[in-house]
């Protein structure tokens, strides 16, 4: 029941996203056909493109065409590679997904325990460290952090491999199963490739994680403090419940609710930060795909990228809403 309701509220967002991406394609100054035909096109080619892409028709009709193309999975063709945009996005998506998910796991894995520890020991060293990380973390420009990490861990310390993408020059990709090199190499039992892929993944994932660490730790600490100070915790203490149960069973479950909401904001950031991190680390994901296309004035991939990212974002927020509803019965049961 909740799922249906939440889907219904997500629908207007999807509609809005599609309309906006459509408008973005038509907002190009000058003749859009020129942009899509490319700088080397002849007048005839331009006229052909104009007719082919329907730029000579009225706006509402163009929109219907656009919808029809979308329904068929046609996001246009890349000028630079000549391939259909959707296929290229699909091929490169696993790289970005692996990076983003690793960063998320790393971020949550550090931020939440840190926030809980800071809340449990107010005024201690951990608390102050948490506060500093929180304030400083949000100020770090992601691309700069990435470069700093490369300088320190690759150039100075020599621990990290060269930031040349998902694998080093000696390894070959494992047989395709999920597209995630970490998973695929384990499935194939190839530990050398696993280690190589992990090595390449560490720095970029850390870069993305550092920025989202800050809001997550801050919210965790604040909401744990609020939960621990609330009246039902006083009742639990007065009932003689064990400390472990009070902190983790009672306080934490309540305290995690705002953290889940913050995850939505973190996702929004990460989907954007993808672009920057992939550029710095030469990661072959959809972010770097879009940036390369952008520099080359190849617009179809950029629009495809924006559309896909937005739809992903809506879907992820939906999942977060559902997760929230799972933990908080007030959301589930209230009419």
């Amino acid at each position: 029941m909740l799922i249906v309701r939440r889907l219904a509220t997500a629908l207007p967002s999807v509609v809005g996203v599609i309309i906006v991406t459509f408008l973005l394609t038509r907002a190009l100054p000058g003749d859009p056909a020129v942009y899509f035909a490319g700088p080397a096109a002849t007048q005839q080619a331009i006229a052909q493109i104009r007719h082919l892409m329907g730029f000579d028709r009225s706006l509402p009709v163009q929109f219907l065409d656009y919808l029809r193309h979308l329904a068929h999975g046609d996001l246009g063709t890349s000028l630079t590679t000549g391939q259909p945009v959707l296929r290229e996005l699909a091929t490169r998506l696993p790289a970005s997904a692996e990076l983003t998910l690793s960063a998320l796991l790393l971020s949550v894995g550090i931020a939440v325990p840190l926030g809980i520890a800071a809340a449990l020991r107010p005024g201690s060293l951990i608390d102050h460290a948490c506060r500093i990380i929180t304030t400083a973390g949000v100020s770090l420009p992601t691309f700069f952090t990435g470069l700093l990490l490369i300088y320190v861990f690759y150039y100075l310390a020599g621990w990290a491999p060269a930031p040349l993408g998902r694998l080093d020059v000696y390894s070959t990709p494992p047989p395709h199963w999920s597209g995630f090199y970490l998973v695929d190499s384990l499935v194939a039992g190839d530990f050398d490739t696993f280690r190589a892929a992990l090595g390449q993944l560490l720095l970029p994932a850390a870069t993305m994680a550092i920025f989202s660490l800050a809001p997550l730790a801050r919210i965790t600490r604040a909401s744990m403090l609020a939960a621990l100070g609330s009246e039902f915790i006083r009742t639990a203490r007065a009932s003689g419940l064990a400390r472990r149960r009070i902190v983790y069973g009672y306080a934490l479950r309540n305290g995690l609710l705002p953290v889940i909401t913050t995850l939505g904001m973190v996702f929004s950031f990460m989907l954007g930060a993808n672009v920057l991190v992939e550029k710095v680390f030469a990661w072959p994901g959809i972010g770097s795909y879009a940036v390369e296309a952008l520099i080359a004035s190849d617009y179809a991939p950029v629009q495809g990228f924006v559309l896909v990212m937005a739809l992903l974002h809506v879907a992820l927020n939906l999942v977060i809403d559902l997760l929230y509803g799972l933990i908080d019965p007030r959301v589930r049961l209230e009419a």
């Binding site: 190009l28 300088y151 150039y155 952008l294």
Partner: protein, 292 residues
């Protein structure tokens, strides 16, 4: 002195004392205000303060590390990095300030209209804001700049658009709460028109919270603009801008010439950090209940 003037001064004195209390409690906030003044000075007087011409290249001096002559070293074209960083302050701060000003004005007005009038105005504005927020904001900025064209003006518009929803939502929430408040009713009864009420009664009441948000958004806007120029949008070489300087220095980092990217990056960080701290400090002054 008239009673009213006296009351006014008492209130101001009270506010000043409160601010002094917060600054004393939180020396970090005072530090942030000091940093902010430094940045403003750099933005205003930058070009006159720079020891070298930021665009003057001197290939003989290319890629020299920090020294007495060049405090931040030189880049691959022999340009003095310190001068470039100082001059870039005006551009980066300028982009951020204009973008946030636009976002704040448009967002607040739209939000007030939505929250105060309700009805279909609320629904349309709400939908528009929700649609913007449905995009990952940096991605939307990329798309807007790609669509409108690669220029600094469009960076400003894109940054303004993606920051609009925060103000719209904040204004709408506050307007909603106060819509039926007593002092609004009183103003209405005195015969004030609706627009007048919104501007003279509602606006001053929500301004403090907005100011907190402005400071935080400025930090975010600077990051955004720098990020966009890092990937090659908006600012073109040889213009000096923090993001593009980091991008230019990126390839040098791998070969060990760390100063080309580090100094612009550090100053960028400092600016964002300063605005975030100021925002936190302002929040403590305005609404101590929300301290974290």
């Amino acid at each position: 002195m008239t009673i009213a003037a006296f009351a006014g001064i008492r209130r101001f004195d009270g506010t000043l004392r409160h601010i002094a209390y917060v600054l004393a409690e939180n020396p970090v906030t005072g530090f942030a205000f000091a940093m902010f003044s430094v940045f403003v000075l750099l933005a205003v007087f930058g070009p006159s303060l720079a020891p070298y011409d930021p665009l003057a290249s001197d290939t003989a001096q290319a890629l020299t590390g920090p020294s007495a002559a060049h405090w931040f070293g030189t880049d691959q074209l022999g340009r003095d990095i310190f001068s470039r960083v100082v001059v870039a302050t005006r551009l980066d701060l300028g982009i951020a300030v204009i973008a946030v000003a636009l976002a704040f004005t448009a967002g607040t007005l739209l939000g007030l209209a939505a929250g105060y009038c309700g009805g279909w105005a609320d629904r349309i504005i709400g939908r528009a804001v929700d649609t913007i927020m449905a995009f990952p904001l940096f991605v939307l900025a990329m798309g807007i700049v790609a669509a409108l064209g690669n220029s600094v003006a469009n960076i400003v518009y894109a940054t303004a658009i993606i920051n609009l929803p925060i103000y719209a939502r904040l204004a709408r929430a506050e307007a909603n709460v106060r819509r039926s408040a007593g002092f609004i009713e009183a103003a209405r009864l005195c015969g004030n028109g609706e627009t007048r009420i919104v501007l003279t009664q509602l606006l001053p009441n929500i301004l403090p919270l907005m100011m907190v948000q402005v400071s935080l958004t400025l930090g975010y806007a600077i990051l955004n603009a720098a990020g966009l120029s890092f990937i090659g949008l908006g600012v073109r070489p040889p213009t000096a801008e923090w993001g593009i300087m980091v991008a230019e220095g990126a390839s040098n980092i791998i070969s060990g010439e760390w100063w080309v990217a580090l100094f612009p990056g550090l100053v960028l960080m400092a600016a964002v950090f300063c605005f975030n701290l100021m925002g936190d400090g302002l929040r403590d002054i305005v609404d101590p209940l929300r301290r974290t």
